[in-house]
Symmetry: C2
Subunit: 306 residues, 2 copies
Protein backbone atom coordinates (compact mmCIF):
# COMPACT_ATOMS: atom_id res chain seq x y z
CA UNK A 1 0.00 0.00 0.00
CA UNK A 2 1.14 3.50 -0.80
CA UNK A 3 1.11 6.37 1.64
CA UNK A 4 -2.03 8.49 1.11
CA UNK A 5 -1.55 11.31 -1.36
CA UNK A 6 -2.04 14.77 0.10
CA UNK A 7 -4.88 16.88 -1.33
CA UNK A 8 -2.47 19.66 -2.22
CA UNK A 9 -0.62 17.37 -4.62
CA UNK A 10 -3.75 16.00 -6.23
CA UNK A 11 -5.10 17.91 -9.23
CA UNK A 12 -8.80 17.76 -8.45
CA UNK A 13 -9.79 20.01 -11.31
CA UNK A 14 -8.15 17.80 -13.93
CA UNK A 15 -9.44 14.63 -12.30
CA UNK A 16 -12.99 16.01 -12.00
CA UNK A 17 -13.01 17.23 -15.59
CA UNK A 18 -12.18 13.71 -16.82
CA UNK A 19 -14.83 12.11 -14.61
CA UNK A 20 -17.48 14.69 -15.44
CA UNK A 21 -16.96 14.16 -19.16
CA UNK A 22 -17.73 10.49 -18.73
CA UNK A 23 -20.61 11.09 -16.31
CA UNK A 24 -22.37 13.72 -18.42
CA UNK A 25 -22.03 11.58 -21.52
CA UNK A 26 -23.37 8.52 -19.72
CA UNK A 27 -26.32 10.43 -18.25
CA UNK A 28 -27.20 11.86 -21.63
CA UNK A 29 -27.05 8.40 -23.17
CA UNK A 30 -28.99 6.60 -20.44
CA UNK A 31 -31.66 9.06 -19.29
CA UNK A 32 -34.79 8.68 -21.39
CA UNK A 33 -32.79 8.74 -24.62
CA UNK A 34 -35.06 7.90 -27.53
CA UNK A 35 -32.18 6.00 -29.16
CA UNK A 36 -32.74 3.29 -26.54
CA UNK A 37 -36.40 2.77 -27.46
CA UNK A 38 -39.72 4.56 -27.18
CA UNK A 39 -39.94 7.40 -24.65
CA UNK A 40 -43.29 9.12 -23.93
CA UNK A 41 -42.73 12.66 -25.18
CA UNK A 42 -43.40 14.93 -22.20
CA UNK A 43 -42.06 12.46 -19.66
CA UNK A 44 -38.74 12.01 -21.43
CA UNK A 45 -38.23 15.76 -21.72
CA UNK A 46 -39.03 16.30 -18.05
CA UNK A 47 -36.63 13.52 -17.00
CA UNK A 48 -33.80 14.89 -19.11
CA UNK A 49 -34.47 18.45 -17.97
CA UNK A 50 -34.28 17.31 -14.35
CA UNK A 51 -30.95 15.56 -14.78
CA UNK A 52 -28.90 17.00 -17.63
CA UNK A 53 -27.01 20.26 -17.81
CA UNK A 54 -26.90 21.08 -14.14
CA UNK A 55 -25.64 20.06 -10.77
CA UNK A 56 -22.18 19.72 -9.29
CA UNK A 57 -22.36 15.92 -9.60
CA UNK A 58 -20.84 15.60 -6.15
CA UNK A 59 -22.37 12.17 -5.54
CA UNK A 60 -21.16 10.69 -8.84
CA UNK A 61 -17.68 12.06 -8.17
CA UNK A 62 -17.66 10.38 -4.75
CA UNK A 63 -18.63 7.07 -6.40
CA UNK A 64 -15.83 7.36 -8.96
CA UNK A 65 -13.29 8.42 -6.34
CA UNK A 66 -14.16 5.54 -4.02
CA UNK A 67 -14.03 3.04 -6.87
CA UNK A 68 -10.60 4.38 -7.81
CA UNK A 69 -9.42 4.03 -4.21
CA UNK A 70 -10.29 0.32 -4.16
CA UNK A 71 -9.30 -0.36 -7.77
CA UNK A 72 -12.85 -1.42 -8.72
CA UNK A 73 -14.78 -2.03 -11.97
CA UNK A 74 -14.96 1.33 -13.76
CA UNK A 75 -18.05 0.42 -15.80
CA UNK A 76 -19.89 -0.52 -12.62
CA UNK A 77 -18.78 2.74 -11.01
CA UNK A 78 -20.04 4.81 -13.95
CA UNK A 79 -23.46 3.15 -13.73
CA UNK A 80 -23.50 3.54 -9.95
CA UNK A 81 -22.47 7.20 -10.29
CA UNK A 82 -25.37 7.88 -12.66
CA UNK A 83 -27.82 5.89 -10.54
CA UNK A 84 -27.01 7.90 -7.42
CA UNK A 85 -27.37 11.13 -9.37
CA UNK A 86 -30.80 10.03 -10.64
CA UNK A 87 -31.96 9.43 -7.08
CA UNK A 88 -30.63 12.86 -6.09
CA UNK A 89 -32.28 14.48 -9.12
CA UNK A 90 -35.66 12.83 -8.49
CA UNK A 91 -35.57 13.95 -4.86
CA UNK A 92 -35.02 17.55 -5.96
CA UNK A 93 -37.92 17.38 -8.42
CA UNK A 94 -40.32 16.08 -5.77
CA UNK A 95 -38.90 18.32 -3.05
CA UNK A 96 -39.50 21.43 -5.17
CA UNK A 97 -43.18 20.61 -5.75
CA UNK A 98 -45.86 22.91 -4.30
CA UNK A 99 -46.91 20.39 -1.63
CA UNK A 100 -43.30 20.22 -0.38
CA UNK A 101 -40.95 23.24 -0.57
CA UNK A 102 -42.83 24.98 -3.39
CA UNK A 103 -39.63 26.21 -4.99
CA UNK A 104 -39.65 27.77 -8.45
CA UNK A 105 -35.91 28.13 -9.04
CA UNK A 106 -33.28 25.38 -9.12
CA UNK A 107 -29.77 25.72 -10.51
CA UNK A 108 -30.89 29.07 -11.89
CA UNK A 109 -33.66 27.51 -14.01
CA UNK A 110 -37.41 27.05 -13.47
CA UNK A 111 -38.08 23.90 -11.48
CA UNK A 112 -39.51 20.86 -13.26
CA UNK A 113 -43.09 21.35 -12.11
CA UNK A 114 -43.02 25.01 -13.16
CA UNK A 115 -41.85 24.04 -16.63
CA UNK A 116 -43.74 20.78 -17.21
CA UNK A 117 -46.62 20.85 -14.72
CA UNK A 118 -47.04 19.05 -11.43
CA UNK A 119 -48.31 15.75 -12.78
CA UNK A 120 -45.40 15.39 -15.17
CA UNK A 121 -42.94 16.36 -12.41
CA UNK A 122 -44.39 13.71 -10.15
CA UNK A 123 -44.09 11.06 -12.86
CA UNK A 124 -40.62 12.18 -13.93
CA UNK A 125 -39.38 11.81 -10.36
CA UNK A 126 -40.94 8.38 -10.07
CA UNK A 127 -39.45 7.27 -13.38
CA UNK A 128 -36.00 8.57 -12.45
CA UNK A 129 -36.01 6.47 -9.30
CA UNK A 130 -36.90 3.35 -11.28
CA UNK A 131 -34.27 4.17 -13.88
CA UNK A 132 -31.60 4.31 -11.18
CA UNK A 133 -32.17 0.63 -10.42
CA UNK A 134 -32.40 -0.19 -14.12
CA UNK A 135 -28.95 1.32 -14.68
CA UNK A 136 -27.52 -0.84 -11.89
CA UNK A 137 -28.77 -4.09 -13.40
CA UNK A 138 -27.62 -4.30 -17.02
CA UNK A 139 -28.19 -7.65 -18.74
CA UNK A 140 -25.04 -7.28 -20.85
CA UNK A 141 -22.67 -8.97 -18.41
CA UNK A 142 -20.58 -5.85 -17.79
CA UNK A 143 -21.19 -6.03 -14.03
CA UNK A 144 -21.18 -9.26 -12.03
CA UNK A 145 -24.44 -10.25 -10.33
CA UNK A 146 -23.02 -9.90 -6.78
CA UNK A 147 -21.93 -6.32 -7.55
CA UNK A 148 -25.33 -5.51 -9.12
CA UNK A 149 -27.11 -6.86 -6.06
CA UNK A 150 -24.82 -5.00 -3.64
CA UNK A 151 -25.28 -1.72 -5.51
CA UNK A 152 -29.08 -2.06 -5.51
CA UNK A 153 -29.05 -2.95 -1.81
CA UNK A 154 -26.98 0.10 -0.84
CA UNK A 155 -28.95 2.50 -3.01
CA UNK A 156 -32.40 1.24 -2.01
CA UNK A 157 -31.68 1.53 1.68
CA UNK A 158 -30.10 4.99 1.35
CA UNK A 159 -33.03 6.29 -0.71
CA UNK A 160 -35.84 4.83 1.39
CA UNK A 161 -37.58 5.38 4.69
CA UNK A 162 -34.43 4.67 6.70
CA UNK A 163 -32.51 7.08 4.47
CA UNK A 164 -33.34 10.05 2.29
CA UNK A 165 -37.14 9.75 2.27
CA UNK A 166 -37.13 9.26 6.03
CA UNK A 167 -35.02 12.37 6.48
CA UNK A 168 -37.42 14.35 4.31
CA UNK A 169 -40.31 13.17 6.47
CA UNK A 170 -38.53 14.34 9.63
CA UNK A 171 -37.75 17.64 7.90
CA UNK A 172 -41.42 18.02 7.01
CA UNK A 173 -42.48 17.39 10.58
CA UNK A 174 -39.85 19.68 12.09
CA UNK A 175 -40.67 23.07 10.53
CA UNK A 176 -41.15 25.55 13.34
CA UNK A 177 -40.16 23.04 16.02
CA UNK A 178 -37.16 23.56 18.30
CA UNK A 179 -35.05 20.51 17.34
CA UNK A 180 -32.14 19.77 19.60
CA UNK A 181 -28.69 18.94 18.29
CA UNK A 182 -29.22 15.17 18.29
CA UNK A 183 -32.49 15.49 16.36
CA UNK A 184 -30.95 17.85 13.83
CA UNK A 185 -28.04 15.46 13.29
CA UNK A 186 -30.41 12.52 12.85
CA UNK A 187 -32.52 14.40 10.31
CA UNK A 188 -29.52 15.31 8.18
CA UNK A 189 -27.85 11.93 8.58
CA UNK A 190 -30.92 10.55 6.82
CA UNK A 191 -31.91 13.40 4.52
CA UNK A 192 -28.60 14.10 2.81
CA UNK A 193 -26.00 12.03 4.64
CA UNK A 194 -27.35 8.61 3.72
CA UNK A 195 -27.09 9.15 -0.03
CA UNK A 196 -23.65 10.78 0.17
CA UNK A 197 -22.39 7.91 2.32
CA UNK A 198 -24.00 5.41 -0.05
CA UNK A 199 -22.14 7.06 -2.94
CA UNK A 200 -18.84 6.24 -1.24
CA UNK A 201 -19.90 2.71 -0.32
CA UNK A 202 -21.26 2.01 -3.80
CA UNK A 203 -17.95 3.08 -5.29
CA UNK A 204 -16.20 0.71 -2.89
CA UNK A 205 -18.67 -2.08 -3.78
CA UNK A 206 -17.40 -1.91 -7.37
CA UNK A 207 -14.21 -3.49 -6.08
CA UNK A 208 -13.32 -5.95 -3.35
CA UNK A 209 -13.06 -3.90 -0.17
CA UNK A 210 -12.27 -5.70 3.08
CA UNK A 211 -14.63 -5.14 6.04
CA UNK A 212 -11.98 -2.89 7.61
CA UNK A 213 -11.78 -0.76 4.47
CA UNK A 214 -15.57 -0.64 4.20
CA UNK A 215 -15.79 0.50 7.78
CA UNK A 216 -13.19 3.23 7.24
CA UNK A 217 -15.02 4.43 4.13
CA UNK A 218 -18.26 4.40 6.07
CA UNK A 219 -16.63 6.79 8.54
CA UNK A 220 -15.40 8.97 5.70
CA UNK A 221 -18.86 8.99 4.11
CA UNK A 222 -20.61 9.85 7.37
CA UNK A 223 -18.28 12.76 8.09
CA UNK A 224 -18.48 14.09 4.54
CA UNK A 225 -22.26 13.70 4.46
CA UNK A 226 -22.71 15.67 7.64
CA UNK A 227 -20.13 18.31 6.68
CA UNK A 228 -22.01 18.86 3.42
CA UNK A 229 -25.17 19.85 5.29
CA UNK A 230 -23.36 22.02 7.83
CA UNK A 231 -21.74 23.93 4.97
CA UNK A 232 -25.09 24.17 3.17
CA UNK A 233 -26.61 25.78 6.25
CA UNK A 234 -23.68 28.20 6.47
CA UNK A 235 -23.98 29.16 2.80
CA UNK A 236 -27.75 29.65 3.14
CA UNK A 237 -26.87 32.51 5.50
CA UNK A 238 -23.70 33.89 3.92
CA UNK A 239 -24.20 33.52 0.14
CA UNK A 240 -26.68 35.18 -2.20
CA UNK A 241 -29.09 33.58 -4.68
CA UNK A 242 -26.97 34.39 -7.72
CA UNK A 243 -24.01 32.49 -6.29
CA UNK A 244 -26.11 29.59 -4.99
CA UNK A 245 -28.29 29.24 -8.10
CA UNK A 246 -31.25 28.82 -5.77
CA UNK A 247 -33.26 30.93 -3.37
CA UNK A 248 -31.01 31.97 -0.44
CA UNK A 249 -32.11 32.54 3.13
CA UNK A 250 -35.03 30.13 2.71
CA UNK A 251 -34.33 28.11 5.81
CA UNK A 252 -34.46 31.12 8.10
CA UNK A 253 -37.51 32.49 6.30
CA UNK A 254 -39.32 29.17 6.78
CA UNK A 255 -38.16 28.96 10.39
CA UNK A 256 -36.40 25.66 9.68
CA UNK A 257 -33.86 24.51 12.26
CA UNK A 258 -30.29 24.60 10.91
CA UNK A 259 -26.81 24.08 12.31
CA UNK A 260 -26.29 27.84 12.16
CA UNK A 261 -29.51 28.63 14.03
CA UNK A 262 -28.64 26.01 16.63
CA UNK A 263 -24.87 26.51 17.07
CA UNK A 264 -24.17 29.96 15.62
CA UNK A 265 -22.14 30.83 12.51
CA UNK A 266 -18.54 30.56 13.73
CA UNK A 267 -19.06 27.33 15.70
CA UNK A 268 -20.70 25.85 12.60
CA UNK A 269 -17.67 26.79 10.52
CA UNK A 270 -15.37 25.20 13.09
CA UNK A 271 -17.56 22.10 13.15
CA UNK A 272 -17.30 21.71 9.38
CA UNK A 273 -13.50 21.82 9.63
CA UNK A 274 -13.58 19.19 12.39
CA UNK A 275 -15.67 16.92 10.18
CA UNK A 276 -13.19 17.38 7.34
CA UNK A 277 -10.39 16.31 9.67
CA UNK A 278 -12.45 13.25 10.69
CA UNK A 279 -13.03 12.33 7.05
CA UNK A 280 -9.33 12.57 6.24
CA UNK A 281 -8.42 10.55 9.33
CA UNK A 282 -10.81 7.80 8.21
CA UNK A 283 -9.10 7.66 4.84
CA UNK A 284 -5.72 7.40 6.55
CA UNK A 285 -7.08 4.57 8.69
CA UNK A 286 -8.32 2.70 5.62
CA UNK A 287 -4.75 2.02 4.55
CA UNK A 288 -5.86 2.51 0.92
CA UNK A 289 -3.42 3.92 -1.58
CA UNK A 290 -5.17 6.01 -4.19
CA UNK A 291 -7.29 8.22 -1.98
CA UNK A 292 -6.21 11.51 -3.56
CA UNK A 293 -9.59 12.14 -5.15
CA UNK A 294 -11.51 11.27 -1.97
CA UNK A 295 -9.30 13.60 0.07
CA UNK A 296 -9.56 16.45 -2.39
CA UNK A 297 -13.34 16.07 -2.73
CA UNK A 298 -13.82 16.26 1.03
CA UNK A 299 -11.62 19.33 1.16
CA UNK A 300 -13.46 21.08 -1.66
CA UNK A 301 -16.86 20.17 -0.27
CA UNK A 302 -16.10 21.79 3.07
CA UNK A 303 -14.27 24.79 1.67
CA UNK A 304 -16.71 25.56 -1.18
CA UNK A 305 -18.44 28.89 -1.60
CA UNK A 306 -21.64 27.70 -3.36
CA UNK B 1 -43.81 -32.99 -17.73
CA UNK B 2 -47.36 -33.38 -16.51
CA UNK B 3 -50.37 -32.43 -18.55
CA UNK B 4 -51.56 -28.95 -17.52
CA UNK B 5 -54.19 -29.05 -14.79
CA UNK B 6 -57.55 -27.60 -15.82
CA UNK B 7 -58.77 -24.53 -13.91
CA UNK B 8 -61.95 -26.31 -12.93
CA UNK B 9 -59.99 -28.90 -10.99
CA UNK B 10 -57.77 -26.35 -9.28
CA UNK B 11 -59.03 -24.95 -5.97
CA UNK B 12 -58.08 -21.32 -6.44
CA UNK B 13 -59.77 -20.17 -3.25
CA UNK B 14 -57.80 -22.55 -1.07
CA UNK B 15 -54.56 -21.84 -2.91
CA UNK B 16 -55.09 -18.05 -2.75
CA UNK B 17 -55.94 -18.16 0.95
CA UNK B 18 -52.63 -19.90 1.69
CA UNK B 19 -50.64 -17.44 -0.43
CA UNK B 20 -52.45 -14.40 0.92
CA UNK B 21 -51.72 -15.43 4.49
CA UNK B 22 -48.03 -15.47 3.74
CA UNK B 23 -48.15 -12.28 1.65
CA UNK B 24 -50.07 -10.21 4.20
CA UNK B 25 -47.82 -11.38 6.99
CA UNK B 26 -44.70 -10.57 4.99
CA UNK B 27 -45.97 -7.12 4.01
CA UNK B 28 -46.84 -6.32 7.60
CA UNK B 29 -43.40 -7.42 8.71
CA UNK B 30 -41.44 -5.65 6.00
CA UNK B 31 -43.30 -2.38 5.36
CA UNK B 32 -42.00 0.33 7.68
CA UNK B 33 -42.24 -1.95 10.69
CA UNK B 34 -40.63 -0.27 13.70
CA UNK B 35 -39.35 -3.68 14.83
CA UNK B 36 -36.83 -3.46 11.99
CA UNK B 37 -35.38 -0.15 13.18
CA UNK B 38 -36.32 3.52 13.37
CA UNK B 39 -39.25 4.65 11.21
CA UNK B 40 -40.19 8.35 10.98
CA UNK B 41 -43.64 8.47 12.56
CA UNK B 42 -45.94 9.99 9.95
CA UNK B 43 -44.10 8.41 7.04
CA UNK B 44 -44.29 4.89 8.43
CA UNK B 45 -48.01 5.21 9.10
CA UNK B 46 -48.67 6.52 5.61
CA UNK B 47 -46.65 3.70 4.03
CA UNK B 48 -48.44 1.02 6.02
CA UNK B 49 -51.83 2.61 5.36
CA UNK B 50 -51.10 2.59 1.63
CA UNK B 51 -50.15 -1.09 1.56
CA UNK B 52 -51.78 -3.06 4.35
CA UNK B 53 -55.36 -4.18 4.74
CA UNK B 54 -56.49 -3.66 1.19
CA UNK B 55 -56.12 -4.75 -2.37
CA UNK B 56 -56.73 -8.00 -4.17
CA UNK B 57 -52.97 -8.75 -4.28
CA UNK B 58 -53.34 -9.89 -7.87
CA UNK B 59 -49.70 -9.12 -8.72
CA UNK B 60 -48.27 -10.99 -5.72
CA UNK B 61 -50.49 -13.98 -6.55
CA UNK B 62 -49.17 -13.98 -10.11
CA UNK B 63 -45.59 -13.98 -8.76
CA UNK B 64 -46.31 -16.91 -6.46
CA UNK B 65 -48.17 -18.84 -9.16
CA UNK B 66 -45.37 -18.39 -11.70
CA UNK B 67 -42.74 -19.40 -9.16
CA UNK B 68 -44.78 -22.51 -8.40
CA UNK B 69 -45.02 -23.33 -12.09
CA UNK B 70 -41.22 -23.33 -12.48
CA UNK B 71 -40.48 -24.83 -9.07
CA UNK B 72 -38.53 -21.77 -7.94
CA UNK B 73 -37.21 -20.40 -4.63
CA UNK B 74 -40.27 -19.67 -2.46
CA UNK B 75 -38.46 -17.10 -0.26
CA UNK B 76 -37.39 -15.17 -3.35
CA UNK B 77 -40.95 -15.33 -4.67
CA UNK B 78 -42.40 -13.98 -1.44
CA UNK B 79 -40.01 -11.03 -1.54
CA UNK B 80 -40.71 -10.47 -5.22
CA UNK B 81 -44.46 -10.68 -4.56
CA UNK B 82 -44.23 -7.99 -1.89
CA UNK B 83 -41.91 -5.82 -4.00
CA UNK B 84 -44.33 -5.80 -6.93
CA UNK B 85 -47.19 -4.94 -4.61
CA UNK B 86 -45.20 -2.02 -3.17
CA UNK B 87 -44.68 -0.62 -6.66
CA UNK B 88 -48.38 -1.03 -7.36
CA UNK B 89 -49.30 0.59 -4.05
CA UNK B 90 -46.97 3.56 -4.54
CA UNK B 91 -48.40 4.14 -8.02
CA UNK B 92 -51.91 4.30 -6.57
CA UNK B 93 -50.82 6.79 -3.90
CA UNK B 94 -49.24 9.11 -6.46
CA UNK B 95 -51.99 8.54 -9.02
CA UNK B 96 -54.66 9.59 -6.52
CA UNK B 97 -52.96 12.91 -5.72
CA UNK B 98 -54.66 16.18 -6.67
CA UNK B 99 -52.23 16.92 -9.49
CA UNK B 100 -53.03 13.53 -11.07
CA UNK B 101 -56.48 11.91 -10.76
CA UNK B 102 -57.47 13.82 -7.60
CA UNK B 103 -59.28 10.81 -6.16
CA UNK B 104 -60.47 10.80 -2.55
CA UNK B 105 -61.67 7.20 -2.25
CA UNK B 106 -59.61 4.02 -2.71
CA UNK B 107 -60.65 0.54 -1.60
CA UNK B 108 -63.51 2.21 0.25
CA UNK B 109 -61.14 4.32 2.39
CA UNK B 110 -59.87 7.91 2.15
CA UNK B 111 -56.83 8.07 -0.13
CA UNK B 112 -53.40 8.56 1.43
CA UNK B 113 -53.11 12.28 0.66
CA UNK B 114 -56.58 12.91 2.10
CA UNK B 115 -55.61 11.17 5.31
CA UNK B 116 -51.96 12.20 5.69
CA UNK B 117 -51.57 15.28 3.50
CA UNK B 118 -50.03 15.65 0.07
CA UNK B 119 -46.41 15.97 1.15
CA UNK B 120 -46.54 12.79 3.21
CA UNK B 121 -48.30 10.96 0.37
CA UNK B 122 -45.60 12.02 -2.05
CA UNK B 123 -42.87 10.81 0.33
CA UNK B 124 -44.67 7.59 1.19
CA UNK B 125 -44.93 6.71 -2.49
CA UNK B 126 -41.26 7.48 -3.02
CA UNK B 127 -40.24 5.42 0.00
CA UNK B 128 -42.40 2.48 -1.08
CA UNK B 129 -40.65 2.37 -4.43
CA UNK B 130 -37.24 2.31 -2.74
CA UNK B 131 -38.42 -0.35 -0.31
CA UNK B 132 -39.43 -2.60 -3.20
CA UNK B 133 -35.80 -2.80 -4.31
CA UNK B 134 -34.63 -3.17 -0.72
CA UNK B 135 -36.86 -6.23 -0.31
CA UNK B 136 -35.35 -7.78 -3.43
CA UNK B 137 -31.77 -7.49 -2.19
CA UNK B 138 -31.51 -9.05 1.27
CA UNK B 139 -28.00 -9.47 2.64
CA UNK B 140 -28.91 -12.66 4.50
CA UNK B 141 -28.04 -15.06 1.68
CA UNK B 142 -31.62 -16.30 1.23
CA UNK B 143 -31.62 -15.32 -2.44
CA UNK B 144 -28.69 -15.84 -4.80
CA UNK B 145 -27.12 -12.72 -6.31
CA UNK B 146 -28.11 -13.61 -9.90
CA UNK B 147 -31.75 -13.94 -8.83
CA UNK B 148 -31.59 -10.66 -6.89
CA UNK B 149 -30.13 -8.89 -9.92
CA UNK B 150 -32.68 -10.42 -12.30
CA UNK B 151 -35.59 -9.43 -10.05
CA UNK B 152 -34.36 -5.83 -9.75
CA UNK B 153 -33.84 -5.65 -13.51
CA UNK B 154 -37.36 -6.86 -14.32
CA UNK B 155 -39.02 -4.65 -11.73
CA UNK B 156 -37.08 -1.49 -12.55
CA UNK B 157 -37.87 -1.72 -16.23
CA UNK B 158 -41.55 -2.49 -15.66
CA UNK B 159 -41.94 0.41 -13.22
CA UNK B 160 -40.07 3.03 -15.20
CA UNK B 161 -40.47 5.21 -18.25
CA UNK B 162 -40.70 2.24 -20.59
CA UNK B 163 -43.28 0.66 -18.30
CA UNK B 164 -45.77 1.90 -15.74
CA UNK B 165 -44.58 5.50 -15.42
CA UNK B 166 -44.45 5.79 -19.20
CA UNK B 167 -48.00 4.51 -19.47
CA UNK B 168 -49.15 7.05 -16.88
CA UNK B 169 -47.53 9.80 -18.91
CA UNK B 170 -49.36 8.70 -22.05
CA UNK B 171 -52.58 8.50 -20.05
CA UNK B 172 -51.99 12.03 -18.79
CA UNK B 173 -51.47 13.31 -22.31
CA UNK B 174 -54.44 11.46 -23.77
CA UNK B 175 -57.38 12.84 -21.78
CA UNK B 176 -59.93 14.17 -24.25
CA UNK B 177 -57.95 12.94 -27.25
CA UNK B 178 -59.36 10.40 -29.72
CA UNK B 179 -56.81 7.57 -29.31
CA UNK B 180 -56.97 4.84 -31.89
CA UNK B 181 -56.87 1.18 -30.99
CA UNK B 182 -53.10 0.85 -31.36
CA UNK B 183 -52.46 3.87 -29.13
CA UNK B 184 -54.90 2.62 -26.49
CA UNK B 185 -53.22 -0.78 -26.48
CA UNK B 186 -49.78 0.79 -26.16
CA UNK B 187 -50.89 2.98 -23.26
CA UNK B 188 -52.29 0.04 -21.32
CA UNK B 189 -49.44 -2.29 -22.24
CA UNK B 190 -47.22 0.16 -20.38
CA UNK B 191 -49.53 1.52 -17.69
CA UNK B 192 -50.85 -1.72 -16.21
CA UNK B 193 -49.62 -4.51 -18.50
CA UNK B 194 -45.91 -4.07 -17.84
CA UNK B 195 -46.15 -4.62 -14.09
CA UNK B 196 -48.58 -7.55 -14.41
CA UNK B 197 -46.29 -9.17 -16.97
CA UNK B 198 -43.28 -8.46 -14.76
CA UNK B 199 -45.05 -10.20 -11.88
CA UNK B 200 -45.19 -13.39 -13.94
CA UNK B 201 -41.60 -13.07 -15.16
CA UNK B 202 -40.30 -12.30 -11.67
CA UNK B 203 -41.98 -15.43 -10.38
CA UNK B 204 -40.31 -17.38 -13.16
CA UNK B 205 -36.96 -15.72 -12.38
CA UNK B 206 -37.09 -17.32 -8.93
CA UNK B 207 -36.44 -20.62 -10.66
CA UNK B 208 -34.53 -21.72 -13.71
CA UNK B 209 -36.85 -21.13 -16.65
CA UNK B 210 -35.55 -21.94 -20.15
CA UNK B 211 -35.79 -19.19 -22.79
CA UNK B 212 -38.75 -21.07 -24.33
CA UNK B 213 -40.58 -21.15 -21.02
CA UNK B 214 -39.79 -17.49 -20.39
CA UNK B 215 -41.14 -16.61 -23.79
CA UNK B 216 -44.35 -18.58 -23.19
CA UNK B 217 -44.82 -16.90 -19.81
CA UNK B 218 -44.18 -13.54 -21.44
CA UNK B 219 -47.09 -14.30 -23.77
CA UNK B 220 -49.26 -15.31 -20.83
CA UNK B 221 -48.31 -12.14 -18.95
CA UNK B 222 -49.01 -9.89 -21.92
CA UNK B 223 -52.46 -11.41 -22.51
CA UNK B 224 -53.38 -11.32 -18.83
CA UNK B 225 -52.10 -7.76 -18.45
CA UNK B 226 -54.18 -6.53 -21.35
CA UNK B 227 -57.26 -8.53 -20.33
CA UNK B 228 -57.07 -6.96 -16.89
CA UNK B 229 -57.45 -3.47 -18.34
CA UNK B 230 -60.20 -4.45 -20.77
CA UNK B 231 -62.18 -5.92 -17.87
CA UNK B 232 -61.45 -2.82 -15.77
CA UNK B 233 -62.92 -0.65 -18.50
CA UNK B 234 -65.98 -2.90 -18.70
CA UNK B 235 -66.52 -2.80 -14.94
CA UNK B 236 -66.15 0.98 -14.89
CA UNK B 237 -69.32 1.05 -16.99
CA UNK B 238 -71.26 -1.89 -15.56
CA UNK B 239 -70.44 -1.92 -11.82
CA UNK B 240 -71.26 0.61 -9.10
CA UNK B 241 -68.93 2.30 -6.62
CA UNK B 242 -69.95 0.11 -3.68
CA UNK B 243 -68.93 -3.03 -5.59
CA UNK B 244 -65.75 -1.50 -7.00
CA UNK B 245 -64.61 0.17 -3.78
CA UNK B 246 -63.72 3.22 -5.85
CA UNK B 247 -65.50 5.88 -7.83
CA UNK B 248 -67.28 4.27 -10.79
CA UNK B 249 -67.89 5.88 -14.17
CA UNK B 250 -64.84 8.12 -13.74
CA UNK B 251 -63.34 7.33 -17.11
CA UNK B 252 -66.41 8.38 -19.04
CA UNK B 253 -66.88 11.44 -16.83
CA UNK B 254 -63.29 12.49 -17.52
CA UNK B 255 -63.67 11.70 -21.22
CA UNK B 256 -60.82 9.18 -21.03
CA UNK B 257 -60.52 6.77 -23.93
CA UNK B 258 -61.33 3.18 -22.91
CA UNK B 259 -61.75 -0.14 -24.67
CA UNK B 260 -65.50 0.17 -24.15
CA UNK B 261 -65.67 3.68 -25.62
CA UNK B 262 -63.58 2.53 -28.58
CA UNK B 263 -65.00 -0.96 -29.28
CA UNK B 264 -68.36 -1.01 -27.52
CA UNK B 265 -69.40 -3.13 -24.53
CA UNK B 266 -70.09 -6.53 -26.09
CA UNK B 267 -67.03 -6.56 -28.35
CA UNK B 268 -64.93 -5.62 -25.30
CA UNK B 269 -66.38 -8.58 -23.41
CA UNK B 270 -65.61 -10.88 -26.34
CA UNK B 271 -62.09 -9.45 -26.54
CA UNK B 272 -61.45 -10.20 -22.87
CA UNK B 273 -62.46 -13.82 -23.45
CA UNK B 274 -60.15 -14.03 -26.48
CA UNK B 275 -57.27 -12.76 -24.36
CA UNK B 276 -58.05 -15.37 -21.72
CA UNK B 277 -57.88 -18.07 -24.37
CA UNK B 278 -54.53 -16.66 -25.54
CA UNK B 279 -53.18 -16.69 -21.99
CA UNK B 280 -54.21 -20.32 -21.49
CA UNK B 281 -52.75 -21.30 -24.86
CA UNK B 282 -49.42 -19.73 -23.84
CA UNK B 283 -49.40 -21.80 -20.67
CA UNK B 284 -50.08 -24.93 -22.69
CA UNK B 285 -47.21 -24.02 -25.01
CA UNK B 286 -44.85 -23.58 -22.06
CA UNK B 287 -44.94 -27.30 -21.39
CA UNK B 288 -44.83 -26.53 -17.66
CA UNK B 289 -46.57 -28.85 -15.25
CA UNK B 290 -47.95 -26.99 -12.26
CA UNK B 291 -49.78 -24.19 -14.02
CA UNK B 292 -53.07 -24.66 -12.20
CA UNK B 293 -52.75 -21.43 -10.26
CA UNK B 294 -51.72 -19.43 -13.32
CA UNK B 295 -54.67 -20.81 -15.27
CA UNK B 296 -57.16 -20.18 -12.50
CA UNK B 297 -55.87 -16.65 -11.87
CA UNK B 298 -56.28 -15.73 -15.53
CA UNK B 299 -59.78 -17.16 -15.51
CA UNK B 300 -60.79 -15.29 -12.36
CA UNK B 301 -59.22 -12.05 -13.54
CA UNK B 302 -61.26 -12.03 -16.72
CA UNK B 303 -64.47 -13.30 -15.17
CA UNK B 304 -64.40 -11.09 -12.05
CA UNK B 305 -67.17 -8.68 -11.09
CA UNK B 306 -65.10 -6.07 -9.21
Amino acid sequence: MNAPETPSLFDLNAWSARQLDAIEQALSQWVANAQNGFVPAGLGEAMRYAVLDGGKRLRPLLVMAACEAVGGNAEAALRAACAVELIHAYSLVHDDMPCMDNDVLRRGKPTVHVKFGEAQALLAGDALQALAFELLTPANGSISAPVQAALCRLLAKAAGYQGMAGGQAIDLASVGLPLNSAQLHEMHRLKTGALLQASVLMGAACGAASPAVQSALQGYGAAVGLAFQVVDDILDVTADAATLGKTAGKDAAQDKPTFVSLMGLQPSTDYAQQLLAQALASLQASGLGHTGALQALADRLVNRHH
